[in-house]
């Protein structure tokens, strides 16, 4: 069992640079969808960074005279019940939605890989305790656990980030544990130990970098889910408060107008949310093809 499996060991990062680039071009060329996903990703990041500078209207400015207008040349996505421009609000919301999910995923990546690596390296009771704790998190329906955490810790955006990080933690920890565990007796690890490196140093500098490529794929696949969770939490009134533009809460506000036919209030923020999640999922699949061709589906 401790023998590293031959398919898992050579990380693509160890390939010569131009060979990696060639592989990248090959993957993108064979699956144009991945190229589209990269382009969409750039658009979303652009909206998050430059959005507030580019939008035609102030996302918070109300205008009672122009309330609930359908999409037109002046207001591409129409206006909401207070006459605010839906397009501006959707674009500006990108930054907040991405910040929440990036922060949450970063937290669960850092802590998940630390906990998982320690469990995978030391084994024994460390492994059992960590495994038990992760099992306990997974024993809850994850979104419900996030609701409970935000309700208990207080209804703020920070707590939405922490809650999303906690429910994502087991995925990273389990992956890091598995990746570290198969390598802990590998030849290069024993060589590193014999040359006098301490356990933690071997773990951090020699073993963990090998786990990075699959973890990167996991991050991308997980980002979409994190965005969905954060938007779901604000849809039910947790974290973000009106009038802050955020996709989940905009859909929630628009929901009241669906039954009377004002579809644009909920459609555009919902579509933006969907597009963002879709992009990260496609990107994750593309990255997986790049990093781990054997697991291509």
């Amino acid at each position: 069992m401790d023998m590293p499996s031959p398919t898992a060991v050579p990380p693509p990062a160890a390939m010569p640079k131009d060979s990696f680039l060639r592989h990248f071009r090959y993957v993108v060329a064979s699956n144009p969808v991945t190229a589209v996903a990269f382009a969409l990703f750039l658009v979303i990041v652009g909206a998050a960074v430059f959005g507030p500078l580019l939008v035609p209207y102030d996302p918070l400015a109300t205008n009672a005279a122009r309330a609930l207008q359908p999409p037109s040349w002046d207001h591409w996505f129409g206006t909401d019940q207070l006459g605010r421009d839906v397009f501006s609000r959707v674009v500006v919301a990108t930054r907040l939605d991405l910040t929440i999910s990036v922060a949450a995923v970063a937290l669960s990546f850092v802590f998940g890989s630390m906990i998982g690596s320690l469990a995978g390296y030391y084994g024994g009771w460390t492994d059992r305790v960590v495994g038990r704790c992760l099992d306990t998190i997974m024993a809850f329906p994850l979104f419900v656990l996030a609701m409970g955490i935000v309700a208990a810790a207080g209804n703020t955006i920070e707590n939405v980030i922490y809650a999303t990080a906690i429910i994502n933690l087991p995925f990273y920890a389990r992956m890091a544990r598995a990746e570290v565990n198969v390598r802990r007796h590998a030849g290069f690890v024993q060589a590193a130990k014999l040359s006098g490196n301490g356990d933690l140093r071997v773990l951090a500098v020699h073993i963990f970098p090998n786990a990075l490529p699959p973890m990167m794929v996991q991050i991308s696949l997980n980002m979409g889910w994190a965005i969905l969770n954060a938007a779901g939490l604000s849809f039910i009134g947790l974290g973000v408060r009106p009038p802050t533009p955020e996709w989940g809460i905009m859909v929630a506000e628009g929901a009241n107008f669906i039954v009377s036919g004002e579809w644009w209030l909920a459609l555009f923020p919902g579509a933006a949310l969907m597009l963002a999640v879709f992009t990260f999922n496609l990107l994750g699949d593309g990255l997986r093809d790049l990093v781990d061709p054997a697991r291509r589906t």
Binding site: M147, A152, G232, A255, I258, M274
Partner: protein, 342 residues
């Protein structure tokens, strides 16, 4: 002999649920007591002054040590006392018990619906790789996991209620004028049919359709993806080649050998699917004003009704463990390989 082995397996699986239950109880306890923020302030409500908060703190036993509080909490749980909801004044347990059937009806219908579509889709996609149905399956799988449930629900409401007028308004489980059927199972469709009240059954079914489809669309993707992957793997294995070489019919190979063996990975992912479904259930209930425990929790969240939210989290976690247990047990009993290994 074989029956004895199965009994041992079932017992072992039941025992495996115990640590999960202990973990759930500890976490719900910690969520109530140990996190930042003073529970006494929550329980006292927004209008309380210092003296009444101190009073409530003593009443709840919050001035005692954590282990003592934990024992008291276990006692409360054992006697079914989940506290009282501050917004309705009702005991949380009664509210959850009366609302649970609505949530179960929705979730189970959605799961049955999505399995009925996803499993055949996955099998078809796996048996005809790179055909149009395979591409359709792949598209459904990627698009399905990207759809926010609450958004799908609203889109369906717009199309089928506002534009087409086929669906009833997204408000609750029955028309306002229809009386709920006599309580037998708590599932309105079943109860109304048992009471031979066809109009109530029709109304309940019409109200159930859109929420169940919304939730079903969400769970479709992971099930289809897993069925396809598992079938592909099994179809490539040696025993399938042998079965084909022996001249068995296509049907027999596919369903008698391949599908039964592909079931295990599918069943294992069902646990994750339940987790997603129970979470998405909350969002769907809010969109359709479905009077289940999810919308109860959402209403409670808005007014910081703490006991109600904790009761809800506990109930959902127990439901999740129970669903997983039922699936696993069913599988243990069905699979001929189980019980032979040791």
């Amino acid at each position: 002999m074989a029956r004895r082995a199965k009994a041992v397996l079932v017992g072992r699986r039941l025992l495996q649920a115990v640590p999960a239950l202990i973990g759930i109880v500890i976490v719900t306890f910690l969520l109530t007591r140990a996190l930042p923020g003073d529970p006494a302030v929550y329980f006292a409500g927004p209008a309380a002054d210092e003296a009444s908060i101190a009073e409530i703190r003593r009443e709840l036993g919050l001035d005692r040590s954590l282990p003592v509080q934990f024992v008291a909490y276990l006692g409360d749980l054992a006697s079914g006392n989940l506290g009282t909801s501050i917004s309705t004044g009702q005991p949380v347990l009664t509210e959850i018990v009366t609302r649970l059937p609505a949530s179960l009806e929705l979730t189970l219908t959605a799961l049955i619906l999505s399995m009925a579509v996803a499993v055949p889709l996955g099998i078809l996609a796996a048996t005809r790789p790179d055909s149009w149905i395979d591409h359709a399956c792949r598209f459904v799988v990627t698009a399905g996991v990207s759809l926010p449930t609450f958004f799908t629900g609203l889109a369906l409401v717009y199309v089928f209620y506002y534009l087409l007028g086929w669906a009833p308004p997204p408000m609750g489980r029955l028309d306002i004028l229809t009386l709920p059927p006599p309580h037998i199972t708590g599932f309105y469709v079943v109860d109304a049919l048992l009471a031979r009240d066809l109009s109530a059954a029709g109304s309940a079914l019409a109200h159930l359709a859109l929420p169940a489809i919304t939730l079903g669309l969400f769970t479709l993707a992971p099930i289809a993806r897993m069925t396809r992957a598992a079938m592909l793997q099994v179809l490539g294995s040696d025993f399938i080649r042998t079965a084909r070489a022996a001249g068995l019919s296509r049907r027999q190979v596919l369903f008698g050998y391949a599908f039964r063996n592909a079931l295990l990975p599918v069943v294992t992912t069902l646990g994750m699917v339940f987790s997603f479904a129970l979470g998405a259930n909350v969002l769907v209930e809010k969109v359709f004003a479905w009077p289940g425990i999810g919308s109860y929790a959402v209403e409670a969240l808005v007014v910081s009704d703490y006991a109600a939210v904790q009761g809800f989290v506990l109930a959902m976690a127990l439901l999740f463990v129970a669903l997983n247990l039922i699936i696993d047990l069913a599988y243990t009993l069905i699979d001929p390989r189980m019980g032979l290994a040791d």
